[in-house]
Subunit: 142 residues, 2 copies
């Protein structure tokens, strides 16, 4: 029997980090990036990113069991370590981002110039998660 | 001294998972979602997601030290646990996705109907990472 036609993904909607101190991380992401909070409690916090993505911060060990909601159950998950994510930024804003990081005392751990013309700036969040600001041209066309 | 104007993020460009068996996970994501590989080696694999996002799979423990590149150094990172991410899908494709999961023997762990009208389907990847297919209306406007 032939396999069904595969629908297409439209993108990655939610990206999650797991943090030791949810309030500290919430303050860090809100203050540095100006991200609006969509929803949150003492277990997690959901930020809107540019009206197209959701950044989820979960308290480490805070979701060990299914979470009931009115519309169904959210399965358990959890993470550890120094994870990585990259935010897309405009090329002309990279200097402004570097200034902002400097003003806030956040050290830049590395800068990379990619063959496709893009640039990346790397730094850490309060848990040591590796954050990247990436201009167009890090990955070919986007 | 006033703080600098904050530039705006354009979205989350890269989302990373950490996996035990890179080849197994690469095959899982390529076969299930039909994601094209942008670049990869025995340390990591980068998938294009809908021409707008990058899904990165890293071999657990494979990036403990800075990685030199021609254009600069990529700082170390690593992760563990059963992480979470959500893919955006079209509402009319959700049934097709469920059929595809069933045909491939991938169990659906939960379904949620959200107050804003969206629906989510949850299942696991080979490492137990919690994957979600989310239609519009999980988070308000997107």
């Amino acid at each position: 029997m032939p396999l069904s036609r595969r629908p297409e993904l439209r993108g990655i909607l939610e990206t999650a980090l797991y943090v030791e101190d949810l309030e500290r991380s919430r303050a860090f992401y809100a203050a540095l990036f100006g991200l609006p909070v969509l929803v949150g409690d003492d277990r997690f916090c959901a930020f809107d990113v540019a009206g197209r993505d959701v950044l989820l911060l979960f308290r480490k060990g805070g979701t060990p069991a299914p979470v009931p909601t009115p519309g169904g159950m959210i399965p358990p998950h959890d993470g550890n370590g120094r994870l990585h994510l990259a935010f897309a930024v405009d090329r002309e804003d990279l200097e402004g981002w570097e200034t902002l990081l400097r003003e806030r005392g956040i050290g830049i751990e590395s800068r990379v110039e990619w063959r496709a013309g893009g640039r990346s700036v790397y730094f850490r969040d309060p848990d040591g998660h590796l954050l990247e600001l990436a201009t167009p041209g890090v990955w070919g066309n986007y």
